[in-house]
């Protein structure tokens, strides 16, 4: 397993290099201009100077290798220095955002906690909803519970989050006034009351994403449970005289979770992507919102770096999914 993991990690390097180059080219070749968002009152020669100072006019390959060197070497060292305090970071340029003229990694570091909070809690919530939903739906296939569950998860799965998000705002923030419609990103949790405030403001984005995740996972789980419920080993378990609880929750669920856990792992990057819209709707200052703003304003370094981080996440989580599969299913061995 260890050698397998190491081999996969080494193989990931050329993959990521290739991905980074493709992202770079796509972003670079798309018609965007960091000065496009400026008012028309700013004269063209000033615009040209701004572009020059941003390095936009360098050849594409020069820009790519500059970026790659910073991404692969300088930024990790800055990260190490930032977390450990060792003086290892090189002096010199970093990846600088066109819009804010500040290091892209600082922006990401500043925004990561919110995304992790929202994405993380919504994912956990989604799983917590999906487990009973999927289990009961499969165990009582075609029952009223199953039909209602299927309907809800189809709705949750097919209605886009930008719609549910606005719907939630209109219902819960505007009409009922239960939750704030704008996420207060400077809120600090210090005591119980501020925790309640945090809970309230995170509730709607988490519910929107959680509903979507729960729909997806519960569908997978239901299908997987149905597969397993008809297997002989379930009959064996019943023949052993086990209670239904043990048969379903131990024998069936354990086996059904193998594909579901890998789907959960594989979907983590997708959830980051899904959070882009939700963050925008609720004004959560996460990675996704950063990406949207960067795209809108032609902030190439941010778009590249965030896209690349998403690519790393995808590669990483597909590796994690594979390893999890090996851990969970004794039939799979990678050595």
């Amino acid at each position: 397993m260890l050698t397998y993991t190491i081999r996969r990690l080494i193989l990931a390097i050329p993959t990521l290099l290739f991905i980074s180059f493709v992202i770079f080219l796509i972003v670079k070749l798309s018609p965007s201009d960091p000065t496009a968002g400026l008012p028309l009152t700013i004269p063209p020669e000033v615009r040209e100077q701004i572009r020059e100072s941003l390095g936009v006019n360098d050849p594409v390959f020069v820009q790519y290798f500059k970026w790659l060197k910073l991404m692969a070497w300088d930024e990790p060292l800055h990260f190490i220095e930032g977390t450990t305090g060792w003086q290892v970071a090189p002096d010199g340029p970093r990846i600088i955002s066109y819009q804010t003229r500040s290091p892209v990694m600082d922006l990401i570091a500043q925004r990561m906690p919110q995304t992790l909070w929202v994405v993380g809690t919504s994912y956990i919530l989604g799983i917590l909803i999906a487990l009973p939903l999927g289990i009961i739906s499969a165990y009582k296939q075609y029952s009223v519970f199953d039909q209602v569950g299927t309907f809800i998860s189809m709705v949750g799965f097919s209605v886009p989050t930008f719609f549910t998000g606005v719907l939630f705002i209109v219902i819960f923030a505007v009409n009922l006034g239960w939750f704030p419609s704008v996420y207060n990103t400077t809120h600090v949790v210090t005591d119980w009351d501020s925790f309640v405030v945090q809970l309230k403001q995170i509730m709607m984005p988490v519910m929107v994403l959680g509903l979507y995740n729960a729909s997806q996972i519960s569908r997978y789980l239901r299908a997987s449970m149905l597969d397993n419920l008809n297997q002989d080993y379930v009959r064996t378990a019943r023949a052993k005289g086990l209670t239904e609880k043990i048969v379903v929750l131990v024998h069936v669920l354990k086996n059904s979770m193998i594909p579901v856990v890998t789907v959960i792992a594989l979907n983590v990057p997708a959830v980051f992507g899904g959070a882009i819209i939700t963050e925008q709707v609720f004004k959560v200052n996460g990675i996704g919102q950063l990406l949207i703003i960067a795209i809108q304003s032609g902030d190439v370094p941010v778009v590249q770096t965030v896209s690349f981080i998403f690519a790393v996440l995808i590669v990483l989580f597909s590796l994690i999914a594979d390893i999890l599969y090996g851990v969970l299913d004794p039939r799979i061995r990678y050595d």
Partner: protein, 345 residues
């Protein structure tokens, strides 16, 4: 040959019916049912092996599963040592489970892939006994010895074994609680021929040693002939003939049994060539929509008018021999029926 006279009845099955509902349409309305087992009655005596044969789809596996209440039977009664199983509440059933066990057809699918051998064999012990961990392990080793598995494999997973070894695990698991009655549902069908004999021999040896009673479900007549004391033949949810093994193989009475036996290859090639094979015409009717009258009337080479009208009941027409066929109706000459048999024995 097992002698039924004076033996104790271990399992009594009466009018066992197992219908699976068919739901169709948007609202999944009940539109019919698959009559997998349709009024089956037989007894199994303590210590014997009852073979249950028939083509695939005839309902023999459903019958076996219903007897162990792995399915909830639609109607009928099943008694194990006089205790009703067919409609027993869950708790009572759970108490009865240790007495009756099952060995499944597919040794791969019937073992939980995420449990080790020790886990699989030990789980019933954990559920039904109060053995501590050490005692339990001792028992697991004992059982592994009994079925011829190396003790060192206790912590391995099912997929690491060959098919024959897996079936041994399945048998060890079935034996864990000292059952009296084991349903063997095609236990060797999925195995290589060379392994089949080993497993059958193991089953026989265990029967001798532990005094087990088997219901041996198979479509393989030669294997049934080898292991069974008595044989029940099923066709489309019904038992059409039930007889002691030798009598049945020597002198099949029901036209379906006759046809079935004619398809069995003879060990002696000469006699095989001589034997006249009866090829049945047509397909097996759908169990969702069986024909009127006798279930076999659509394919029977000796069909009579009455067969298309009246469903024959199974009757004992000679000691120990039960047949459901109008050829052996009370008003028909037994000899005439025998004369009409294609092969005289």
């Amino acid at each position: 040959m097992f002698d039924t006279s004076g033996a104790k009845k271990l399992v009594e099955v009466r009018d066992l019916t197992m219908h699976f509902p068919i739901r169709t349409g948007l609202l999944r309305r009940l539109t019919g049912s698959v009559k997998a087992v349709d009024g089956v009655s037989f007894d199994i005596y303590e210590g014997e092996t009852l073979g249950l044969v028939g083509e695939s789809g005839c309902g023999k596996s459903s019958c076996g599963r219903a007897i162990l209440r792995l399915y909830d039977p639609t109607a009928g009664s099943i008694r194990l040592e006089g205790e009703e199983i067919a409609h027993a509440p869950f708790d009572k059933l759970r108490r009865l489970r240790p007495k009756m066990q099952m060995v499944f057809q597919d040794p791969q699918a019937s073992l939980n892939p995420r449990m080790t051998v020790a886990g699989i064999i030990g789980e019933p012990l954990m559920e039904h006994t109060k053995l501590n961990a050490a005692k339990r392990l001792e028992r697991i080793y004992e059982l592994m010895d009994a079925v011829g598995l190396n003790r060192e494999f206790a912590n391995r997973y099912p997929h690491e074994f060959s098919g024959g070894q897996r079936q041994r695990i399945g048998i060890a698991r079935a034996l864990a609680l000292n059952p009296k009655f084991i349903v063997c549902d095609e236990p060797i069908a999925a195995l290589d021929v060379s392994i089949q004999a080993q497993v059958v021999n193991l089953l026989e040896e265990l029967q001798d040693r532990l005094g087990l009673t088997y219901l041996f479900i198979s479509h393989d007549l030669s294997m049934v002939r080898h292991i069974a004391d008595r044989v029940a033949v099923m066709y489309l949810g019904r038992v059409v003939e039930l007889a002691p093994r030798d009598a049945l193989f020597a002198d099949p009475m029901h036209p379906y049994t006759t046809a079935l036996l004619s398809a069995v290859p003879e060990p002696d090639p000469a006699s095989h060539d001589d034997a006249e094979r009866i090829i049945l015409q047509g397909d097996v009717p759908s169990p969702a929509n069986p024909p009127k009258g006798c279930n076999f009337c659509t394919r029977c080479p000796r069909v009579m008018e009455i067969c298309r009208q009246i469903d024959p009941v199974i009757r004992e027409i000679a000691p120990g021999r039960h047949v459901a066929c109008h050829l052996y109706a009370e008003d028909t000459h037994k000899t005439a029926a025998h004369a009409a048999q294609p092969t005289e024995v």
